[in-house]
């Protein structure tokens, strides 16, 4: 995460890297650039609490749905991390709304990556249906890099498509490093500690 104390919005600006999440009560802007990753923006306008998380579900999910799927559980865990932080600062998921972005893929991506992207898109819709959480905006798929500016107090999101640096995108490189590490440890679950 990069913090810029000033920005064109006259608020602090936080730029998230792939795999990061950030929840806050501060009047600020949370930003990122997305290729294949998804960004989930959650916000409670009444309480002025919001957060963004950037992640990927590392694989394709089976036909039985996300409840008993090991790969999907990773994605659920990622969103849970963001939700946990939001709840800690006073949020309540019953009043949260969502905006979701990303899961685009570069033009030269393999058919396997295309399947992963489609699976990610299915995952995110199924997840928010189960959570019974309103998705106010979804902007997924496509072959471009999206830059987001998310205002956690209002839930407003500005989305631009980047025009430059297509061939040598540093964000795509950062994403690839994150995606590779997620695929390497996709069966990694949390620790189990017994007190006896």
């Amino acid at each position: 995460m990069i913090k810029k104390t000033d920005s064109q919005f006259n608020k602090p600006l936080y730029i998230l890297y792939p795999g990061e999440f950030y929840a806050t009560k501060e009047d600020c802007v949370i930003s990122t650039v997305l290729g294949s990753c998804m960004a989930v923006c959650l916000f409670d306008v009444a309480k002025r609490i919001g957060g963004m998380g950037i992640f990927i579900v590392p694989g394709t999910i089976g036909t039985s749905g996300i409840i008993s799927d090991a790969i999907a559980s990773k994605g659920i865990g990622d969103i849970e991390l963001l939700l946990g932080e939001i709840v800690k600062i006073g949020g309540d998921r019953r009043y949260l709304k969502a905006k979701i972005f990303g899961a685009g893929y570069p033009a030269d991506s393999s058919s396997q990556m295309e399947q992963v992207m489609n699976s990610n898109i299915k995952f995110i819709y199924e997840y928010f249906t189960l959570e019974n959480m309103t998705v106010e905006r979804s902007d997924l798929g496509g072959e471009f890099r999206r830059r987001l500016y998310f205002f956690p107090w209002t839930g407003k999101v500005y989305r631009n498509i980047l025009q430059n640096n297509e061939e040598s995108s540093e964000f795509i490189k950062l994403e690839q490093e994150y995606i590779d590490s997620e695929f390497r440890q996709k069966e990694k679950f949390g620790r189990v500690i017994l007190f006896d």
Binding site: S73, K88, G91, R94, L130, F189, V192, I193, F195
Partner: protein, 123 residues
């Protein structure tokens, strides 16, 4: 009848836990925060049921997992309580232990693993 109580503010997690534990054959009751859970427990006991196991999240609105645990332990010293959370900090885990949690499972969880831990505490 012995019931398993699942306390988590996420419907997705509640359904996942129910799914993981259904082979145990216990009735399952869900609550979406600590306060809700205390109400459900009172209702179950009033109907003559017992709680066999609690699966408990930490970060929840209204009443969080640790506050629930303190309250629950003041009434019930023995029923196992398994914490299931994204919280992985040692201080939090110690706090859970000191207030009488039986175990701490960090999300994302493996359904088989949750099942075998649950079986162990239900013996």
């Amino acid at each position: 009848m012995k019931h398993i109580l699942i306390i988590d503010d996420s419907p997705t997690i509640r359904i996942s836990v129910e799914h993981a534990l259904k082979s145990l054959g216990h009735a399952m009751v869900c609550a979406e925060n600590g306060r809700d859970a205390l109400g459900k427990i009172d209702a179950l006991i009033a109907q003559g049921h017992d709680i066999a196991l609690c699966v408990l999240d930490v970060n929840m609105p209204e009443m969080d997992g640790i506050s629930f645990l303190k309250e629950f332990r003041s009434r019930d010293k023995f029923t196992p309580v398994l914490i299931l959370t994204t919280e992985s900090e040692d201080d939090k885990i110690k706090e859970g232990r000191s207030h009488g949690a039986s175990g701490w499972i960090i999300k994302p969880f493996k359904p088989d693993e949750l099942l075998s831990v649950a079986k162990r505490f239900l013996k």
